[in-house]
Amino acid sequence: MIRAALARLWQPLWSQWIERRLPPATRVQLHHRTLFIFPSRFGALYLLMVLMLYLLATNFQNNLILAMALLLLSLFVTCIWHCYRNLAGLTISALPTAPHFVGQSLRFAVQLTADDRPRYALQLGAAAGAEELLPELQQQGTLGVTFHATRRGWFKPGRLRLSSHYPLGLLRCWTQLDLQQQALIYPAPIAGPLPLSAGPGTDEVSSTHSSPVLPHHGQHTGSDELVGLRPYRLGESLSQIAWRQHAQGRGLFSKEFAAEPWQHPWLRLTHTPGQDLEEQLSRLSYAVLQLDQKQQRYGLELGAWRLDPATGAGQRQAALEALALYGHSRYDH
């Protein structure tokens, strides 16, 4: 209780201070201003043992026990220097992290460089991630922290904690680095029927969009897929019904596409089933992956934002990025 309260009080002050002391940068070289040393729990136990020896020496008036206690105390002091030297001069640079889907674990890796001497027992961790240990660093090595992606959008690992208990585990030398790392987290794909529909703009039947254009490959201008509306015939797919016109009380219309009306290229948020936005986005994410695998053309419409139909890795990435960030930043309307 008290600990949690103290942590709440302390945390903002600490973040503020460390932000000033160690401003975010993609590459950091460690030195005395950026390194901190504290006794570890084992070190505290060790000091307690030394204190006991000291009390024993004093009460027995035994100089050799005293010398032993003082030697162990001096050993502790020597370890401070060695512990510091183990991290000082180390250069840490951020390595890029590939995008992941929600539910996957992702690893933020850093590259460590130390040209002058080998470093030992380096640990990299973060508040919420799984630590990694590098037993020995000769010149160069990598370390990472693995997180579990829980939400779509930009994932920031927070400050990474590089630490080492070398040489005797009595002390912990550490630093907290913000290497400006981030990774994009795509919505987790949820399997289901592909919610393909006719192109955007077909909801309102307007003269500007009614001119029939033959489908062709390459660049598409958002609306040329849809040819027009025609009265609904029994047996046609429900997804082809122009629901907005129906809601406006104009009657039941089917959207008519220039080519392959059963294979409309558009993925539209508004036409995607789902209980909430996240589920809809997840279904779209699944659809993007499926269509990409089949190498079919697809476009994406999220609110007012549109991605014209295309295929390929670039298209996939643009689509997934949009799905990841919808509602967060520039896609937010």
Binding site: Y46, M49, N59, T113, G153, P167, L168
Partner: protein, 685 residues
């Protein structure tokens, strides 16, 4: 923007690591070193547990057994604790702690699972090492324990340093070596505190003189070359050195004992707690010339102090007994030092009260009729003159064929009669005992005093060392004016008194129990010099290290530096800084000597040449990336550097065994590189 919850998830524990194989080796070695010197303090139970645990561990290593479950281990530990608790009255508190620690360390061998277990184990070993200084204070033992500290450090280091054992040991020596200067500074300067609370006494065998004297127990001592104490004098020591220790005023026909009054006095005054304010101020009025000396006593587990007659305790830490001996309020369980002042002309008990007189005349009702008859005869010859009677009695010893021997024929029944009139062979206790008997029978107060005689003088260091074989017994007789020392052995074997027992008794079973003692080989010059050098080292060790107490510290610091709190603090600061500087220098020397990996050093040398030529290696650029970049750029030395990089990567990562063969190759390539990379610069200039 999505940021994961930072504070909600608990901190993940450090990645568990499999135990480094060398760690077990280090800990086993350190355990052996720590337990070995404690063999005498450990109960047989611990030995049984140790054998069992080691056997089990061995079986695990052989794959014939499994690790015990924590439950099994815990129940074993609880059982062991209970047994030690049962045995604790016998072991004493300190002994119990020892046994507990050793048992814990032993059982830990079956529990190497996590780093935490190992850490705790090593902490226990460190503590055990420190604690064994309670029993052992020789300088050799200090070196021994330093080794043990080194091994413990290597064991801890091996948890974090995944290199070979040799490198682990080197790093551990560096760590310990760098810590020693600071330790020395702290040892010299750190203020000494008095005991904070009463500690339980260690229970150890009593050595040295006993409170009961009969001929047998003195011969025991003469067979031992154990050091009893040393005394340092500012000038030359007195030539006659009778170190009075115990006064025996009760005689039962066979043994001499402390008088019951003295025993009561001791019981009243010798609290278990050390209370300086309880030491009685001197009852004596000290007079006459005096000289100061210091006593450095070895542990005897008794409270009696050896002193020249008569001596006062100048530092007021000792009690003066009614029989003019000195008593320490606490038993001498470890090395101690005392400042004393010797008054050779101080009269001892000039007025003998009636009770005391009766005490020193008392004899058993019957027995030894011949001796009593002789005493009556002497009394008839000298009815008034005690001094003349004494001389006549001593004359008897000189005149009759008495023979000094350490292995006299056994006596039984009226032992005084037998000795005086038939066997006439014996040593100091026989002579002293029979003279005291004669004097008492003749109505002169007399008592037996035991202590040590002489001691070896070391003129270079100005001290006298007294060993168990210097044990001696003599008589004190009360003549008007006070007690006077009379040594009947002098009548029979003056050499014994003048030259010491060793020269007299070389082939009489002297030191029969110490075949390895260097004292046996005094006649071989080389060995004798060695013995004296070791003795000198041990003396300085005792005086400067073991007995470096608050007053010694005060004296030293006052002599060398300014006194006062400010001066001390300044001194402490300077000292600590100096020690740290020394440690840093040590580390620098060590690194310069060992150097980095030779291949790496050569590779970095090559990189420096390239940097000078204007193409430095970028930060965080791998060797192969650097090589490729130079090749792309068409650097003049790129081809050579390609070879260098390949040799380096091959030797360092792929085949370390080829390293030594590759170093000359690399050197040659670097020279080539130097020429190549210099060329464009010379062309430019």
């Amino acid at each position: 923007m999505a940021t994961p919850a930072m504070t909600t998830s608990p901190m993940t524990p450090p990645t568990p690591r499999s135990t480094n194989p060398s760690t077990l080796g280090w800990i086993s070695a350190s355990y052996g070193l720590a337990v070995l010197p404690l063999y005498a303090e450990l109960s047989p139970l611990i030995y049984a547990i140790a054998l069992l645990a080691i056997g089990w561990r061995y079986a695990i290593e052989q794959g014939r057994s499994r690790m015990p479950s924590p439950r099994q281990l815990n129940s074993a530990a609880v059982l062991g604790c209970l047994l030690i608790a049962v045995l604790s009255p016998q072991l004493g508190l300190v002994g119990s702690i020892f046994n507990l620690l050793v048992m814990g360390c032993t059982l830990k061998f079956l529990e190497f699972r996590q780093r935490r277990d190992l850490g705790l184990h090593i902490l226990a070993l460190f503590f055990l090492g420190g604690l064994s200084f309670v029993y052992h204070q020789h300088w050799i033992f200090t070196l021994y324990l330093l080794t043990s500290v080194l091994l413990n450090t290597a064991a801890l280091l091996s948890l974090y340093l995944p290199t070979g054992r040799r490198e682990q040991l080197r790093q551990a020596s560096l760590l310990v070596g760098q810590s020693i200067p600071l330790m020395l500074v702290l040892f010299v300067i750190l203020p000494r505190l008095g005991p904070l609370w009463q500690m339980p006494q260690t229970q150890s065998a009593i050595t040295g003189l006993g409170e009961e004297v009969n001929p047998e127990n003195i011969t025991e001592l003469t067979r031992s070359s154990e050091l009893v104490f040393r005394a340092s004098f500012s000038g030359p020591p007195p030539t006659e050195r009778y170190w009075r220790t115990l006064v025996h005023e009760s005689f039962d026909g066979h043994s001499w004992r402390m008088s019951p009054e003295l025993r009561n006095w001791q019981r009243r005054h010798q609290g278990r707690r050390y209370q300086p304010w309880l030491t009685t101020p001197s009852a004596q009025r000290w007079q006459g010339p005096s000289s100061d000396y210091r006593l450095y006593t070895e542990p005897s587990n008794q409270s009696w102090i050896y002193s020249l007659a008569l001596s006062s305790s100048t530092d007021q830490t000792l009690l003066e007994t009614p029989v003019q001996t000195l008593l320490s309020p606490t038993p001498l369980t470890q090395k101690r030092q005392f400042a004393l002042r010797y008054f050779p002309e101080q009269p001892s008990e000039p007025k003998l009260r009636q009770v005391r007189r009766q005490q020193n005349l008392a004899l058993p009702a019957g027995g030894n009729p011949q001796a009593r008859a002789m005493a009556a005869d002497l009394r008839r010859q000298f009815p008034q003159d005690d001094q003349a009677l004494l001389q006549a009695a001593l004359h008897y010893f000189r005149q009759q064929p008495f023979f000094y021997t350490l292995s006299p024929p056994p006596l039984s029944g009226d032992s005084i009669d037998q000795f005086l009139f038939s066997t006439r062979a014996g040593f100091c206790a026989h002579y002293a005992s029979s003279l005291a008997f004669l004097l008492r029978a003749a109505g002169i107060p007399a008592r037996l005093v035991t202590g040590y005689l002489g001691g070896e003088y070391h003129p270079q260091d100005g001290y006298v060392s007294v060993h168990q074989f210097d044990a001696h017994a003599w008589v004190e007789v009360w003549l008007p004016g006070g007690w006077q020392r009379v040594d009947p052995t002098l009548m029979v074997a003056p050499d014994r008194v003048e030259q010491g027992l060793d020269s007299l008794m070389r082939d009489q079973g002297f030191l029969a129990q110490d075949p390895l003692s260097l004292s046996r080989y005094r006649h071989i010059a080389l060995l004798n010099n060695l013995r004296l050098a070791l003795a000198s080292l041990d003396y300085h060790w005792t005086v400067w290290i073991l007995n470096y107490d608050a007053s010694a510290q005060d004296g030293l610091l006052k002599r060398w530096f300014a006194a006062g709190i400010a001066g001390r603090l300044l001194l402490l600061t300077i000292g600590v800084l100096l020690a740290l500087a020394l440690a840093a220098t040590l580390g620098w020397l060590y690194r310069r000597k060992t150097g980095p990996d030779p291949l790496l050093a050569l590779y970095l040398q090559a990189c420096r040449h390239l940097a000078l030529s204007g193409s430095p290696r970028l930060p965080a650029e791998t060797p192969s990336a650097y090589r490729d970049r130079l090749l792309q750029q068409g650097h003049p030395a790129a081809r050579t550097f390609e070879q260098i990089t390949d040799v380096y990567l091959h030797g360092r990562y792929a085949h370390p065994e080829d390293q030594t063969a590759e170093i000359p190759k690399l050197r040659q390539l670097i020279q080539q590189l130097q020429r190549l990379s210099r060329r464009p610069r010379s062309r430019n200039s």
